[in-house]
């Protein structure tokens, strides 16, 4: 509670409000400080008082044999995940808690951590959370309270910067990459302001919004965006801005997006690949279906390692409908509970690795020292089958 009150003071909040769920990002082992904090709460017999999901940890507890790092870190990381369960958190271990059946509704107050989950909850679900980080999220879960400020309050949820999309690719196949690219582009330009995207295809789906938000929150401090005609608090441009004027307008052409994409990766068609990694944020069932469809269109399976990050709950659903076996037999490695760019699970990290994730492309070079090729899911599959970078024309 003391951490919470100090934080409320920091944010200039005059009061606390009640929350209905929490999502905790404290399961990733960042060193001794991570564990010391949780152990102190366990020792004090702390328990969460609202439904509380957990973000990814540093280990795949379902497939622990995938871990290739230091044993001491492994046991510390395992203890960290276990300690959170002792506090009453659910063993979800996913960065996409919004892909479970129970998800927050429009207008609900929540305290979520994990930058992509925060953006998704605020923007796509219309639930209300600030950008909570490690520690604060757990304090909120233990008390059921959060400081009443920022994105919890309607007046702070109005759009601020307009991104006017001129000729955004409308063809569903292969357009995933442009949502990720747009996110990287916009995040860099808005900082912590709220972007409003006008001109996205009206059939934009949740996975595309997920990619957009995750990328935005990687290059910027974005906690929320509006997509006009798509997200719940932006039925019209005027709703998105709450009747106010945009602070500024950025016109975005396809050429600019192509330039952003090119700047991210020097990989050229024909370059040899060592692996593909997708599922950052965690793959949804719809994305797995798409992947199976793309694999079925090829004569052969991948010649290189192909990793897909997802949650254990999605994996269980895949197992029930037989899709997990189909993916396995096609040479796909499913990683649960964690993610390939935060923990050593990939067999090869020297050489070029391809992804369709803007977030992975942004962080992986610093985190695990890889070189990144950036392409759509379709390009990732085609490239994996040939063992070299294959890009769509244009």
């Amino acid at each position: 509670m003391r951490v919470l009150v100090r934080s409320a003071a920091l944010m200039g909040a005059e009061r606390l409000l009640d929350i209905t769920s929490a999502h905790i990002d404290g399961c990733l082992y960042h060193g001794q400080a991570s564990l010391d904090f949780v152990e102190r709460l366990v020792a004090g017999a702390g328990k969460v008082v609202v439904p509380t999901t957990l973000n990814v940890g540093s280990l795949d507890l379902i497939h622990p044999e995938l871990f290739r790092g230091d044993e001491a870190v492994k046991s510390q990381a395992q203890r960290l995940m276990q300690a959170h369960l002792e506090l009453g958190c659910e063993s979800t271990f996913t960065c996409a808690p919004y892909q479970s059946r129970h998800r927050p509704r429009l207008g609900q107050q929540i305290a979520w951590a994990e930058s992509n989950a925060i953006v998704f909850a605020n923007s796509v679900l219309g639930a209300r959370t600030n950008r909570y980080g490690d520690f604060m999220d757990l304090c909120a879960a233990l008390t059921g309270r959060a400081p009443a400020c920022g994105l919890h309050l309607a007046e702070n949820r109005r759009g601020q910067v307009l991104f006017d999309l001129q000729d955004f690719p409308a063809d569903r196949a292969g357009r995933d990459i442009w949502f990720a690219t747009l996110g990287l582009f916009a995040g860099k330009r808005v900082g912590t302001l709220i972007p409003v995207f006008s001109g996205l295809p009206l059939d934009t789906n949740e996975d595309e919004l997920k990619a957009l938000g995750a990328a935005c929150a990687s290059t910027g401090g974005v906690g929320m965006f509006h997509a006009v005609g798509i997200t719940p608090e932006a039925p019209t441009l005027s709703h998105a801005f709450g009747g106010r004027q945009s602070l500024r307008t950025v016109t975005v052409s396809r050429v600019q997006l192509q330039r952003t994409r090119a700047a991210l990766s020097r990989a050229r068609p024909g370059d040899r690949l060592v692996a593909v990694s997708v599922g950052t944020p965690h793959f949804s069932l719809a994305e797995f279906e798409q992947l199976l469809g793309l694999l079925a269109a090829e004569d052969a399976g991948p010649r290189i390692d192909f990793y897909v990050n997802t949650s254990r709950f999605i994996l269980w659903q895949l197992e029930q409908c037989g899709q997990a076996q189909a993916l396995l037999s096609r040479g796909i490695t499913i990683v649960t509970d964690t993610c390939t760019y935060i923990t050593p699970v990939m067999k090869q990290t020297r050489g070029l690795i391809m992804t369709n994730s803007g977030k992975w492309a942004h962080y992986a070079p610093g985190n695990i020292g890889v070189e990144v090729a950036f392409g759509s899911l379709r390009e990732c599959v085609r490239s994996a089958v040939r063992g070299e970078v294959v890009l769509d024309a244009g």
């Binding site: 003391r2 951490v3 100090r6 934080s7 003071a9 920091l10 944010m11 200039g12 990002d25 404290g26 990733l28 960042h30 060193g31 001794q32 400080a33 991570s34 010391d36 904090f37 102190r40 951590a113 994990e114 930058s115 925060i118 600030n130 950008r131 909570y132 980080g133 490690d134 520690f135 604060m136 999220d137 995040g187 900082g191 912590t192 929150a217 990687s218 290059t219 910027g220 401090g221 942004h362 962080y363 070079p365 610093g366 985190n367």
Partner: protein, 167 residues
Amino acid sequence: MQADDTGTYWPAQAIVAGKGHGKPLLLTEALSFWGGYDAVQGCVIESGHPQCGARLAGRVTLMERAKGSSSSSSVLAEAIRNGTGPAALVMRERDLIVGLGCIVASELYGLHVPVVVVCESTWQEIVDMGSAETCDLRIDAALPGDCLIRISPYSAHNRPPTTGATT
């Protein structure tokens, strides 16, 4: 601004109380501590960041705003715990993720790294003076709220006048 024979004093708002001083280090772009700072090696690792490779230990870090992952609080707390974190942070915007890293380090380890925010004109002055790296920035905020940043010429034995005799 105020001045006396120990240096110049600039108004700031402490969002996390604490004490710290050192040479300034300006981050010219926002940094996400998670994915952008290695708390073991103690340096900026975000490829393409203008200050990639910079060490924050013992420095008063000037960063207009933070960005990116909410895991940054843990990385910052861990950096403070093992001595690779900054001596203090000066920002333009209140940032909960950065603030929390410092709050938790103070609650768990009694290491009180202050975070202060300053207005645009003060920021500009500090950045102009600080970029020379020949000065010492000192923040001493017992409580959150109004406080002062003292800027004085840097020397290896730079100490505040009140505690200068204690060692």
